[in-house]
Symmetry: C4
Subunit: 507 residues, 4 copies
């Protein structure tokens, strides 16, 4: 039997499931995928208090905090070892963090943000710093004492305690238990790169689990160091790194059903804004992560963000898909190879769709539809209602395929680069990162999820979340979009009232 997000034929069932209120891990966090920023993709080991706090202030200033980007996550390379005279607790690097970690946490909390920390379920971190294997309790206590709100927990140097689900789950469960024992709610983010099928055992331990090697700032470039691809890519004993976004999305396609409130497939941090993809590619990347219900963790240098990238990261109509209360990932309905081979030797098109909470108050869930064009040429792509709703009945038998739907283009209302530039300029103009500037002041037309949650906003049919550019698709019809090379189209479908819906047993 499939996991509990996949009860497909009976839409009304969804409510019943949640009446039980199972959150697999017991900390009450990540009911929707976590959002935030992590320094690794852009800065690697070059970390400091200054970097974190400057970035945090800009996250506030640019309105990103009020879009939901909550956690500021310090990645690897922050310690100088353990203090033998103090219970072997970890010591923060005094050069990088002269005031200590608790001070950083205090500042972040004062900004309304959460503080994310990094460690490793091994002898060393990937960067060669002290790892937490064997020190889980002392480290969890240290983190809680500092006011940490989030732990990314890596997998390097694990001393052979990997290679089967029992070993890996036990190793990660030890830290989970230690975090729970602190009494502080700490979001627990597994980072074992999809080894040993963490989607099978992660959800009772943690709030998310990586499903692949590290992402790279490329749409579809192959790299020998990320060796698993194709139809068996789910079975990857060497996750590696330098995985393209389409490689990771391919890996996600097999395990979408594992995403659930409280526990998410983590596709790795975003590369939006790191400079090596086109705007169309970043749009596709952000759309893919959103529909797969990946945590949305920005990975760029916020201090030098380009307006176009701020506009992508600020698209609340897309974020609202990711933060949808249904907590269910879209699934890939089809992928075809095509003739338009790109510079990396690849050519395919694919379509994903998935349930969203209903915004029409009716029986039928909203639906998200994603078309990704992996060709080197602009392509007219089609998504039939039969395929979009295949989980509710194949070959057009789903009741939903028999209905008409309002179609909203979720990228149509993307913020202009001019507006994004003005936000950036306004913040810079203050000359004072701690000034009272914030997004609610400047971006008066922007959505503020601090004031009104995505769930509430969707229930209120906010056009900032739903978009306002609409077309209609008729029963058993087709949605068509012209999609840029390496780009994507993203739609929300909302049920239209209908008096003549054929019942299922009439089909």
């Amino acid at each position: 039997m499939v996991s509990f997000k996949e009860v497909s034929f009976v839409a009304a069932v969804t409510a019943a499931l949640f009446s039980i209120g199972v959150n697999a891990v017991d900390n009450g966090l990540a009911i929707t995928p976590q959002m935030g920023w992590d320094n690794w993709n852009a800065f690697g080991c070059d970390v400091s208090e200054e970097l974190l706090l400057q970035t945090a202030q800009l996250i506030v200033d640019y309105g990103l905090k009020d879009l939901g980007y909550h956690y500021v996550i310090l990645d690897d390379c922050w310690s100088v070892g353990r203090n033998a005279s103090n219970n072997n607790s970890l010591i923060a690097d005094p050069e990088k963090f002269p005031r200590g970690m608790a001070a950083v946490a205090d500042n972040l909390h004062a900004l309304g943000l959460g503080f994310g920390m990094y460690s490793d379920a091994g002898k060393y971190t990937c960067g060669g710093y002290a790892g937490s294997l064997g020190y889980e309790t002392v480290d969890a206590n240290t983190f809680a004492g500092w006011g940490v709100d989030y732990l990314k927990y890596d997998n390097c140097f694990n001393e052979g305690y990997a290679g089967n689900q029992q070993l890996s789950s036990a190793r990660y469960r030890t830290m989970g238990n230690a975090l729970n024992a602190t009494g502080r709610p700490i979001l627990y983010s597994l980072c074992n790169w999809g080894e040993d099928y963490p989607w099978n055992w992660g959800s009772t331990i943690a709030n998310s689990w990586r499903i692949s090697g590290d992402v790279f700032d490329s749409f579809d470039m192959a790299d020998a160091r990320c060796p698993c691809d194709g139809p068996d890519a789910w079975n990857c004993g060497l996750p590696g790194f330098h995985c393209s976004v389409t490689n990771i999305m391919n890996k996600a396609s097999f395990i979408v059903s594992k995403a659930q409130p409280g526990g998410w497939n983590d596709l790795d941090m975003l590369e939006v804004g790191n400079g090596a993809m086109t705007d169309a590619e970043y749009v596709a990347h952000f759309s893919m992560w959103a529909v797969a219900k990946s945590p949305l963790i920005m990975g760029n240098d916020i201090r030098t963000i380009a307006p176009a990238d701020l506009a992508i990261l600020s698209n609340t109509a897309v974020i609202a898909v990711n933060q949808d209360p249904s907590g269910s990932s879209a699934a890939r309905r089809w992928i075809y190879n095509t003739n338009g081979t790109d510079a990396n030797g690849r050519a395919s098109i694919q379509m994903w769709s998935g349930n969203l909470a209903s915004t029409t108050g009716g029986t039928y869930s909203d639906m998200v539809v994603l078309l990704v064009n992996g060709n080197d040429a602009t392509t007219v792509m089609n998504a039939t209602l039969a395929n979009i709703f295949v989980d509710s009945g194949p070959v057009g038998t789903a009741p939903q395929a028999q209905m008409s739907w309002e179609v909203r283009d979720l990228w149509a209302n993307r913020m202009s680069s001019d507006e994004a530039a003005s936000i950036i300029a306004a913040s810079s103009a203050t000359g004072n990162a701690t000034a009272g500037y914030n997004a609610t002041t400047v971006g008066s037309g922007r959505y503020n999820s601090t004031a009104m949650s995505y769930k509430e906003g969707l229930a209120a049919n906010s056009t900032l979340l739903l978009g306002n550019v609409t077309t209609t698709v008729q029963a058993l019809g087709t949605i068509t979009a012209t999609v840029d090379p390496h780009g994507a189209a993203l739609f929300r479908l909302r049920a239209l009232p209908t008096g003549s819906l054929r019942k299922r047993d009439e089909l």
Copy 2:
């Protein structure tokens, strides 16, 4: 050495094998594949006493009980947790089952049916309800106390106790031992989706074991969430779900020899009647499950069953193959790719054959022959005696290939839709589901396995089991059938008397 169903060259050996009387699991159940109905495919979590009892009554009314469909199986989502003040026993959902489970069991037993229950060898069920891992004894006792006759035991949230045969078998053996300790015979149905080769260790624990991810109502549609296919599909670390019937039949092809009296390869519940396959496809689906000796568990809404589907599920000539006393699965003899690519991008034809108990009283077993057409066009298909009997000697050397055979078309006598409609109408007309109506009254020409077992009926050469439309195939000859797109032809071969059979050493 192969398992004991595969003693091939010497037909007379079969009797010797069974003289030992090994039933691998000791509960004496499932000597032929279990039959029944399970709510999951059609209803998911939308379960209730009303659903089960209404369905049960119709199973009686439509004569399905008397065709062998014995177990009414309640699937996931029936509990509201554990009762800490009562030994942590599971609590049935009082809204769905207001009279409690024992009352349901009583009613089912009163109808002559068995009561199937569901749980999970993990922390939670797949639907997120309380699982039995760590509570095996208390749960087995609870089930036995309720009068449960059957346990489907799922695999979600197994806490990392999977990934090798030792872990999975130990986890499932714990419940098996607990069931045995209750003293009540409870058919034990493993549902770990083929992970860790349950066909290797399941037969000493249980009565059946799933071999794949969950079935989907499609003949051959690929879905990324059911990733294993092709020649290595037996090795599937991510069973997934949304597996087409041909995908599952492909997985079965590798392990047919593991089916044996008391322990069966479970190809998952039937999709017949769920609406997304053509009639030809359902005929093929039912034929495939029958010859592979899968449990035949209906998965449709019996309350709204269409006449054509009732006719498929009621074909006693096909069921008699499934329930044959030889307890041996057919095997795939060949599969070829062809040119007639269908809408799902597939095109193949395949032939299966297998031993049945002799109905001619002679030395030679009857034989079942299945031709499946995976093309998009009607196809004339051929099965040579040389290939049909290859297990008794390759390239036509089998003595059986040297003989002539009576060929019976097992779908020729399918009940008409008119007759099926009248059965349905008669039942509905009573207006009272508990009335005395039953199939022996209405369907006077139908087989009643309650009155006479399939074994007895075969021994008596009942034409309701053997069919009566016959042709003959000569020694070293070929059976030819014109097969619908995505359809199947199914034949029983019976040995014809012969005075000139060449001995094996004369070949």
Copy 3:
């Protein structure tokens, strides 16, 4: 580093290796691959004292004993369970073995033959009889008490103790230790079908280990029940059965180096004489098993053996390759796909070569060369000295490739069917299976390895072992043979004296 049979560049090293005298398993048996007969392939469970003793007498009468076929192996289905009042020891079936097993052993020993027994490292044997798992000591003692000389130890119903090398090796080691503890030398033949890489751990436990699922009487027919083939066939989690001889030979190709005195890759029992292959195919089958240093265990019905098959099994020039004192398997040098697709859809040619003990008294080993034609047409095949001697130096750099060689055709002196028929007739004519008839009387021109071991006969340059049909191949030359469809050519190369061999550093 490779195992000790693979010291390749320096021919003179071989002697040094054996000076250590390591026999991995300590029982001193199987210094060359064991030979004998097993009833399974032809009779399955249809076993009896009568079958074994009749066959044994014919093995003596037909001279097969004096060719080295020593063990008469009783396979599965011989017991009726355990005797609770006698230490739970196994009970022989009193109908099949009315005088008990010790009497059978005594008779076999009186004929100069060894007695082979079967059991299983699981709860049941594959045929469903009592298995030895948990009863290793009592069963080993029983076998030793009966006078058993050989144990074939199967793998069915192993209760989940499989799936990694540790579990499988421990399970098989338990019986190995029990056998050793009896004090009786009992050849220990592992039959776990290549699961968990027994070639890695088998040699310190046992004398041979199966490497595949059960053989089938076919040259190259594919069967879904033997699913592993092609370049990854060494990694087979589902060994299955109905494996063709070329499928098994393919599996052997990866692990030839694991064969060593005292521990052999077991390619399974011979199918020669079982009727479904052509004479050319049986010649190829026997040649392949011989050069791969598989145990040579006849699997046919000796009582009805055809003259041509007796001639194959009696070819001492081929057996001498198998029993060569060097104890080193040939290796596959190349395999190519060709155009001559056969009825099973296959077409390839391959060449194997390997070291034999020198029969020329010189520095250089003899060499065996096998050409196998997998086409459907007679094919002229070539083997270059450069390829034959590639292990001693690639691309013709081997000193041996620079020399001239005498080439002996090992099938040229095959016994005529007339002669074989006369041997069979003579035996039958006695009318008394226990009479004094034996091969040394009748076949005066045949080799008698009882009187003179193969090692001695080779040292004495017996033409019965070397053949007498010779040609010569010059330095860097090519051996050419016209090979039947599905047939083989087999040659022994012997170094010719040479005055001008270029030294290696002159190349």
Copy 4:
């Protein structure tokens, strides 16, 4: 997250990483890949004191010692078992080593060389001699007592303690702990052929780990006994042997990031000089091993070395790449199949590049670029700066791709065969292997790493290390080379001063 050698976008980070000073294994050895000589490839088991000491003297005489070849490693087949009356310690073969091992060590130490020893983490060595499994402490103490400086630790006959990372790592860790406990720094070289992903756990135990089956003296010949190749070659449960150099380089391509100071991917001993590859192939082989940061262990007969081979092994510009203080492996940037199929049926070209320590004192690392031509024809090959620097930013976004670079051909200054011949002749002419002759006397123009380390020499911009044949490549330009069949081109790129480098955020 990737391991700590892969911090890619911020070049300046490298220094930060090393400030922690993590050497994964604690013995302080192999800060750059170890260099030396091992007898196996050329001599197998034919070992003796005479062989080792003659070779050692020539290593000194030919200047190889002063190029860094430090360890003289005795491989398998040196013992005659254990001494039961002396703590079961190993006994050196008195015929091969009449003065004992300590005497050999003393002589090697007197020459300024290190002594390498061999044993096996199993019951026997691969050659069938006594293994160290269960004797780790006594053997480590014996080796330390003899003055051993290096242990190659093999994997044969490991008794089933393999097949997952936990078993293999524990087995190898036991010896590592025993070596550490001796107090003598002993370089620990794992030789488990890449089984169970030693790159994951090896670095905290040992100084290097083999990644494949044994190398063979061939550029790209396939051999059934080395079955893993292609895109899944990293997942090799049967490492085998007779692996070609391109097969091994392919395996390395997946795991280059695992190489780090103190712990290296070991591609196996060099075949240079063993006679079966062309000069171009040996150049490619040596270049590949160098850039992959494999240990460089000569495997030929030094006593009969050809001048051309001495010239290859003596190329300090190439060795300086291998011994670069950055300790980071190059990575494969691309591989393409081509049309120029060679005699082994293969045809591909590939490009590798990787960071080297800066020799320009600036911000930017030097870069090594390797082009390998696997065609059968001379090929003009191109490497773009965009691809070379892809790790610092894809598709030309790396700042380094925007710069101009000095390009140095690292094979341009290869020693002439005449000069190499004169070195050989001079040594031979002394007639006394222990005379005062050494490379610093004869090869006055040669680099002497004993006097000045590679790190120092690079810092001093020694042209013996950098080469002096230079060209220039402009920003976003392409390096072009005409490469021999099965040959390679190897370049060092050094940053040219530039006033107009575009900043990253300007791209």
